[in-house]
């Protein structure tokens, strides 16, 4: 009987739960789904991570290549993130060129990397104007159940923390780059940006970590990215119904608490990798 009601009137079905301050999967309005993190799963990549927030599964692989630095910034390297939403993860994505959601997500991740000063780009430069690293971060969603942006940020952060780059020197005689695969250095991560996504229902109720169903029924979506110093790196609300100042402040406070939870998780997993070695 409930399944019939859910199919016929999905909005009313969700509203009946929200009235009791809970959600169909039993969560509180401010509760995140269980988050699990696994790093170093892809052996062919220089750094990799897999994150699961509830059912949403996102994997990231980092490949480092050598190239010449940009002419307008000769002492900096590149980070090129790319978010891919293949038809595998959800029936709403068709095969073909990346859709708007994937491209907007890629741009958002690139902005977060830039805004949060995650990695010092100057460190990726090996020799000014001659040689630098370019880190290709391929983020692929394997199972889409809402809250893509949070998962992408966590998986990117974990993969970058896990990445090891070989030491590169330029041979003075041949003027070619030589990479020493035996000596590997991890990247220096300055900040720990963590995102929290919210969905607004009926212009008044705010829920945290929406599932794909809740996202499709919501009237607005908001993602807040904070770093460990409680500074905001991004407040991303691409439209939808309006949000008052107090509700926005409430979301920011929740995002700050979430930052602490996820930082602990990422640090725990990175430490466990080190002790395992």
């Amino acid at each position: 009987m409930a399944a019939g009601f859910k199919t016929a009137e999905p909005l009313e079905y969700h509203r009946s739960f929200l009235k009791e301050n809970c959600r169909p999967d039993g969560r509180e309005l401010g509760e995140f789904r269980p988050t699990t993190l696994n790093i170093s799963s892809v052996s062919t990549a220089d750094g990799s991570a897999l994150v699961k927030i509830g059912n949403t599964t996102v994997i990231c692989g980092i490949k480092a290549e050598l190239t010449t630095p940009p002419s307008d910034a000769p002492n900096r390297g590149y980070i090129v993130p790319n978010v891919d939403l293949p038809p595998l993860c959800s029936s709403k994505f068709r095969p073909g060129p990346p859709g708007e959601q994937a491209q907007a997500a890629s741009q958002f991740i690139a902005d977060v990397i830039e805004s949060s000063d995650l990695i010092n780009m100057e460190e990726l430069c090996i020799e000014k104007s001659k040689l630098c690293w370019v880190l290709y971060c391929d983020i692929m969603c394997l199972d889409y159940d809402g809250n893509l942006l949070d998962a992408c940020i966590i998986v990117l952060l974990a993969a970058l923390k896990n990445a090891q780059l070989p030491e590169v020197t330029i041979n003075k005689e041949t003027d070619l780059a030589e990479a020493d695969i035996q000596k590997k250095q991890p990247l220096k991560i300055n900040r720990l940006p963590v995102g929290s996504s919210f969905a607004v229902f009926d212009d008044s109720i705010i829920i945290v970590d929406p599932t794909a169903e809740e996202e499709s029924l919501s009237t607005a979506l908001l993602t807040v990215v904070t770093d460990e110093e409680d500074r905001l790196c991004a407040v991303h609300k691409p439209g939808g119904t309006s949000l008052s100042g107090e509700k926005l402040q409430h979301c920011i406070n929740r995002a700050i608490t979430r930052n602490k939870e996820i930082s602990k998780l990422v640090n725990k997993v990175t430490e466990s990798m080190k002790t395992a070695k």
Partner: protein, 233 residues
């Protein structure tokens, strides 16, 4: 063709960009119904940034894109040079969702509303100018909306000063850039897009400043509509 430009009561930014004029919008103006083919069209000029917008709708929609109970909104942003890339897609998403919230889409099920924005010149505050041009074009097309929207960009300088409606040069120098779309009904934040890092207090200040500046732009919308329709006998 109706030409409206707001010159009275608004200080134009001086060439030297003195300190005291930082909390003022640049001189802005708009022209509507300038293109014959689109159902609605407008240009919006903020300082040197200029956007041309065209709206087609409600029109036929491809079966793959149709929604059974609402109109489908599509936004295309054409940059000044080259083909649209990932950056334009992200801006299109912001403009599209803001328009979807403002338009009464349930009045035109299985139809499409297409908004095309052409960048004529980019001198900072590009996303804001796109949103303002889109709103004026939607009004020109006569599409039913539940409220109007306008957009303001704030930049936070290295010293912590908030600059409203920054030029391209100011945007490059400032570590943080925040763009907000404000609605006309309750003056709340409809859309928010930020780059750079900033504190919570700075965010609240920028929102308050944007809400105040949006009142000027909404007054401009009202005046332009009043002036336009008072000519019709």
């Amino acid at each position: 063709m109706t030409l409206m430009s707001a010159t009275k009561g608004l200080c134009a930014r001086t060439m030297m960009e003195l300190d005291q004029s930082y909390s003022v919008l640049r001189e802005y103006g708009s022209e509507q119904s300038l293109l014959s083919k689109p159902d609605g069209s407008s240009t919006f000029v903020q300082g040197d940034t200029s956007i041309l917008a065209g709206v087609y709708g409600p029109a036929e929609v491809k079966v793959s894109k149709e929604i059974y109970d609402r109109a489908t909104v599509e936004v295309l942003i054409q940059p000044k040079m080259g083909l649209p890339g990932v950056r334009e897609r992200a801006r299109e998403q912001c403009v599209r969702e803001t328009c979807e919230a403002a338009l009464l889409l349930t009045l035109h099920p299985r139809s499409s509303v297409t908004v095309i924005l052409q960048v004529i010149h980019d001198d900072g505050s590009l996303l804001s100018c796109c949103l303002n041009a889109a709103c004026m074009a939607l009004m020109d097309a006569g599409l039913p909306m539940s409220h109007l929207f306008c957009s303001v960009t704030c930049a936070i300088s290295k010293e912590g000063q908030i600059i409203i409606d920054p030029t391209a040069r100011q945007e490059k120098e400032c570590p943080a850039l925040l763009t907000f779309a404000i609605d006309s009904a309750e003056c709340n934040v409809l859309m928010s897009s930020t780059t750079g890092s900033f504190s919570v207090q700075e965010l609240q200040q920028c929102i308050a400043i944007s809400q105040k500046a949006s009142e000027q732009i909404f007054q401009f919308y009202r005046d332009s509509v009043k002036r336009r329709y008072s000519k019709i006998k």
